[in-house]
Amino acid sequence: MSDKKNKTPESRTIRVGALARVEGEGALHLKMRDKVVEQVHLEIYEPPRFYEAFLRGRDLREVPDITARICGICPIAYQMSSCYALEKAVGIADKIPALTHKLRDLFYCGEWIESHVLHMFMLHLPDFLGYESAITMAADHGETVKRALRIKKLGNELVALLGARSVHPVGACVGGFYRHPEVSEVQHMLPEVKHCLGDMIELTRFLAKAVEYPDLQRDYEFLALRDTSGGTYSMNRGRIVSNRGLDMAQEEFLDYIEERHVQHSTALHAMVKGRGAYMVGPLARLNLGPERLHPTAQKLLEEICAKIETALPWRNNFLSLLARGVETVHALALAADIMEAYNLNDQRAAPRVSFTPRTGRGCHGTEAPRGICWHAYTVKDDCSVDEARIIPPTSQNQMTIEEDLRELARTVADLPDEQAALRCEHLIRNYDPCISCSVHFLKFKRTWEDSDRPLHFSGA
């Protein structure tokens, strides 16, 4: 794996190649001199997918189902962001009834539960506990994995309740849903939601007790939605705020955030104009709105903070594992509340608001499990899309991931290749990026260079 030519300990190039397939393709390059990290590149080299281009000219009613195909893990995020943005564009945003907003939150709860639990227990926890994978972890923690799988399954079932199926659901539309669920379907699922809520509280306590969290404190700018209408922990609605004073309407997002092309990545890098990197996702949401969590999750959060002896704001993203646990408890408790209140009048209410096509523009971001997913559409009066813009959460976190890696790389400079690679992968997985599925399978290669020669990348 390692080539050592003209070995000097002063400089080296580390290449983590072939993050390969799945939700994205990428690689990691670290260029170091002594313990100073000269360059960190998280390369995303997946070919552009041109969604924004081929949405042009399509009927706007097709957009939620088309954009849901962008991601196999968080299709609800793309459906909800596009629905809310397009409802603004066609002028019906103010007509969407409270019931639709609640059912959309329930829909999103399903996605948060499924996505968070899959990431926490199948992909991230093995890193913390020192296992190669969930398979080897299951030998020692079988009951924990089984309970997690049961909760993940429930998340999928909640998505299917409103979306007709859990993979690429098709139930949502501009204006609401194609149909409302039967009360009997909802009531049938409720006992399982309550059971899983109890299990998830215990599992989160386990994560606080059994896991040792690496300490990497950084002064992040956190960005998340804040719901000003109902004061709840935002999934679907709200202004976009940060811990450094940003407080913007959804329509102002591009006034404060810009995307830049960088040579080493086909994914654009998002940054706060004039300032730089920022973080979206569970840690940002938790730090910016803990008082808006469901009371059950708030109580648990207080307990967790005491257990790990760390008060909010958490500035160590390795704690994102716990943040996801608290958010999953929130999602389960919120889902139970919404389902308990659902009645026959709701079932019989009109499932969607109709609209008359018009020329207009609408912008909206919602909270995907891994952070804000922001969409903007311009539509024409023939019901077609004239322009589309989509900024997913992973491109917003990419610059912050690189900055985290720069910090971490100093501490792993003396480690052998394999261990250094594992530490880097673990850090990347804190963000649950869409390329996270592949970071367990990186090839790690480094070369030693004569310090007088120019450094160059090498490897797979």
Binding site: A20, R21, V22, E23, G72, I73, L118, H119, M122, L123, S133, A134, I135, T136, A138, A139, G142, V145, K146, L149, K152, K153, N156, S166, V167, H168, S436, C437, S438, H440, F441
Partner: protein, 158 residues
């Protein structure tokens, strides 16, 4: 005595050439045989990570997919083989880099570690000899489409 619970699960992308084989088989199977409480047919699509959700109480699991053996001459019929057979070829999605790292093979290993693996697991597959057969935007090749009926017949006869 209750009949055994059988789960038939396909995976693949219906718009990616040979990858459409599994979904085509389960779609045809639903039409031919329908579903009962003891005979369930699911298509996991491009996200096979949900297989684990369906394994509880299953006595026999039948995976339907395309299997990839580069350079191997195509079989005249479908491959019908025990999952644990040393001769079983890798699935088209067997590599660990499927959606969020949970391929069919990984999930079945996890199920085994948790004691959730059904007593019998079979693979029914179309054997593909080149990754190029999975080209996005392509429909199912007529030669593979002709194997769908045979796969359905083998499963329906269970």
């Amino acid at each position: 005595m209750a009949p055994p619970h059988i789960l038939v699960a396909s995976c693949g992308n219906p718009d990616a050439g040979a990858d459409a084989f599994g979904p085509a088989v389960t779609a045809a199977l639903r039409q031919k045989r329908g579903q009962t409480p003891f005979f369930k047919v699911i298509d996991l699509g491009i996200r096979p990570a949900a297989l684990l959700d369906h394994l509880e109480g299953v006595d026999e699991l039948i995976i339907v997919d395309a299997a990839l053996l580069p350079g191997r001459k195509p079989l005249p019929g479908v491959l019908d083989i025990d999952w644990d057979s040393p001769a079983r070829p890798p699935l088209a999605h067997d590599d660990p880099m499927s959606t969020h790292g949970l391929s069919i093979a990984h999930q079945l290993e996890l199920a085994r570690a948790l004691g959730l693996l059904p007593p019998r697991v079979r693979l029914i597959a179309a054997l593909i000899n080149s990754p190029a057969a999975f080209q996005p935007g392509q429909t199912l090749d007529p030669k593979l489409a002709a194997l769908v009926d045979e796969a359905v017949r083998r499963i329906a006869d269970v």
